[in-house]
């Protein structure tokens, strides 16, 4: 009764009718009259309806304002996002739906609140979340809350593949893959322009060369032109060619023939003196090859009006020859490209060189830098190893080394090389397989395909030489 009195009292008051004390009793009996009770009921009910209506209005206004975010999607990548109604405080929603999802390949399940599917289209996609509250009639139209779903493009689709300018005087093929016998082994080697270069139509800067030399020596060379150098594509090509050329000249042939005796002497008496002589031999012969290459680059730079720096390239090469005692490997390296020999059982890896790597990258050295020849570290750039028998010899540019080995510390680990071989054998995301068998007629094509592996952030030129 009290609240009824209060309601009617305030109603009357608002209309300027005050109930004075002496009329209180009369007022009470007035309210108790059956006819007036019915009228009061109507007032109360209408008031309740009005308030419920207002509450709902406010609730919807709150919901419209509430921030609704769903995670970004990516074209071609499976997507799921769930609306957590508890967490969102949306327990009062009885019917929900989405509009705009189907068009981009997604679907919404109202039972679970889950959006799922594989987006087909990128962009900031406008969506509408539709809902009805438990306080609303079943046939009431749904409220719409706008939101945006960001769908990223498939990163792979963003890379352009623009041909390099074949009219350029220093043009070279974007992709080269070769397979050939080499000594008592075979070589398969592939050099491919990186996506970052293909994206802007620039050139492959890596290069390689291999050959059979006289007296049973074999040689493989890999060079990686510096990205920041204008003519590094030419620098790497010239460096590779000139190393092979050097060893084909009479003077080098004669000099290299002397290795047999030096090695025999070393094998007969393994002591400091014979070892020193052997190391000197490697230093003198390979060092001369490296220096001659440097000089050739210098001459080329002068003649073509370029600077030596324009031709910046890293350079690794290894020569080997089969002896009764095993395979003798000689090597030289400047830059960040590794040379590795795996023993017959693939239980041991022998690294032929150390890598020039800086703390924050970019710390590499190039064959074009005159200072490397004066540096006291120069002598350590050479390698000699005698290995009973080998299963694989690898030379690679950092375009392979970076994604596959990541850090220098991984290179001495045989397990990493075993993984690498398994990767070549098809154990990779794309399932591409290289059957390293000389009778495999597809071998070159297989390696070429394998070289296209996807690795985020690694889109440099790639060169990989495998002797097996």
């Amino acid at each position: 009764m009290e609240d009824i009195i209060a309601v009617v009292d305030s109603l009357f008051r608002n209309r300027g009718i005050a109930i004075t004390d002496d009329r209180k009793a009369l007022f009470n009996s007035f309210l108790e009259a059956e006819r007036n009770q019915a009228l009061i009921d109507v007032i109360m009910q209408t008031g309740n309806l009005l308030m419920a209506g207002w509450k709902q209005e406010e609730r919807i206004a709150d919901l419209q304002q509430q921030l609704l975010r769903i995670p970004n999607a990516t074209v071609g990548k499976d997507y799921t996002a769930t609306l957590d109604f508890q967490k969102l405080g949306w327990q009062d929603m009885v019917q929900t739906a989405f509009s705009g999802l189907e068009a981009i390949g997604l679907a919404y399940d109202p039972a679970t609140g889950q959006i799922s599917g594989t987006p087909t289209q990128s962009g900031d996609i406008p969506l509408q979340f539709l809902y009805r509250l438990d306080t609303e009639k079943e046939d009431a139209s749904l409220h719409a809350k706008s939101l945006t779903l960001t769908v990223n493009p498939d990163p792979k689709s963003l890379w352009k593949n623009l041909e390099s300018d074949t009219q350029d005087p220093y043009w070279k093929e974007d992709h080269v893959t070769k397979f050939a016998p080499l000594g008592d082994r075979h070589i398969v080697v592939s050099s491919k322009r990186g996506r970052s270069h293909a994206n802007v139509g620039s050139f492959r800067e890596d290069d390689f060369a291999f050959d059979s030399l006289e007296n049973g020596w074999q040689i493989v060379v890999v060079a990686d032109g510096a990205g920041s150098a204008k003519l590094s594509r030419k620098g790497s090509a010239l460096a590779c060619a000139s190393v092979v050329e050097y060893f084909k000249e009479e003077a080098a042939k004669t000099s290299m023939a002397g290795f047999d005796a030096v090695l025999q002497q070393y094998l007969a008496q393994q002591e400091a003196a014979t070892e020193k002589e052997l190391n000197n031999f490697v230093y003198n012969n390979l060092g001369k090859a490296a220096f001659t290459t440097h000089k050739k680059l210098e001459v080329f730079a002068k003649e073509s009006g370029a600077t030596l720096k324009d031709l910046s390239a890293t350079l690794i090469f290894t020569l080997w020859k089969k002896y009764e005692a095993g395979y003798a490997f000689l090597s030289f390296g400047v830059g960040d490209c590794p040379i590795a020999v795996l023993n017959r059982d693939v239980t041991e890896v022998t690294l032929m060189n150390w890598l020039d790597v800086g703390e924050f990258g970019g710390g590499t050295r190039f064959i074009t830098m005159p200072e490397i020849f004066q540096n006291k570290q120069f002598a350590t750039r050479f390698g000699f190893k005698l290995i009973d028998d080998f299963s694989y010899l690898f030379l690679m540019s950092d375009g392979i080394y970076d994604p596959k080995f990541v850090v220098e510390a991984a290179l001495p680990k045989i397990s990493k090389w075993q993984e690498f071989l398994a990767d070549l054998g098809g154990n990779n995301e794309a399932g591409t397989k290289v059957d390293l068998n000389p009778d495999n007629p597809e071998i070159a094509q297989q390696l070429s395909q394998w070289m296209d592996f996807w690795s985020p952030g690694n889109h440099d030129d790639r060169t990989l030489a495998i002797v097996f």
């Binding site: 921030l67 963003l158 970052s196 510096a226 970019g362 850090v407 952030g457 690694n458």
Partner: protein, 212 residues
């Protein structure tokens, strides 16, 4: 994978109310959308947003471009640039991976600062902390006449200024930031080299005055 961390230090002090703050929000949004179209940036660039007014907070931790979602920002309070610099320093410590023998760390971070006023806190001590961290480059933008470009010069040599903090100028700044991040992500990936200063970035548009 080596990430390219990018820290945006944005002034959200009271003076930014209205057009400037809306322009900043919009600028970040447009920048993110355009970087998403860059194949190198979408793979390598990670963005963090630090705002500063009466205090500084990291609104968005270092997040890959694909997942990045801009948070609503409001303009209020004073200009605690020092706190923002200090927060940037600790964020770099916590979020940027260092190179060790066993792992390849991230690229050195890029830092972009935008302010329309004079710092109201002890900014030198924040700067001292910030300077102990290695960044590839830091660019500071003095937006409008209320900012002190010479003061920003003490933070970094790379200072640009906008004559007015209107939406068009602010938009131009972010377009240029976007292009700079794009160029840097291409450069680190392509040549393995970091960009170190303004000279290697795309030329700023005419609305941006390079402060020498």
């Amino acid at each position: 994978m080596r990430r390219l961390p990018v820290y945006l230090l944005l002034d959200t002090s009271g003076s930014m109310t209205g057009e400037p703050i809306e322009a900043v929000k919009n600028g970040v949004q447009v920048m993110i959308s355009s970087l998403r179209q860059n194949p190198q940036a979408i793979e390598t660039a990670f963005i963090s947003v630090i705002t500063f007014d009466s205090d500084a907070r990291q609104l968005v931790p270092l997040t890959d471009l694909a997942s990045f979602q801009m948070v609503d920002i409001k303009a209020t309070g004073t200009t605690s640039l020092g706190a923002a610099l200090r927060l940037a320093a600790t964020s770099i410590d916590n979020e940027v991976t260092k190179t060790t023998a066993e792992q390849k760390g991230d690229w050195k971070p890029l830092v972009f600062i935008m302010t329309d006023g004079i710092p109201t806190d002890d900014w030198q001590s924040g700067l001292e902390e910030f300077k102990k961290r290695k960044t590839a480059y830091t660019v500071a933008c003095a937006a409008g006449s209320g900012a002190d470009a010479n003061l920003l010069k003490q933070i970094t040599e790379n200072v640009v200024s906008l004559d007015t903090a209107d939406s068009q100028s602010i938009a131009k700044f972010f377009t240029w930031v976007s292009a700079s991040i794009g160029v840097t992500s291409t450069k680190v990936e392509d040549s393995g080299k970091e960009v170190t200063g303004l000279g290697e970035l795309p030329p700023p548009p005419s609305e941006l005055n390079v402060v020498v």
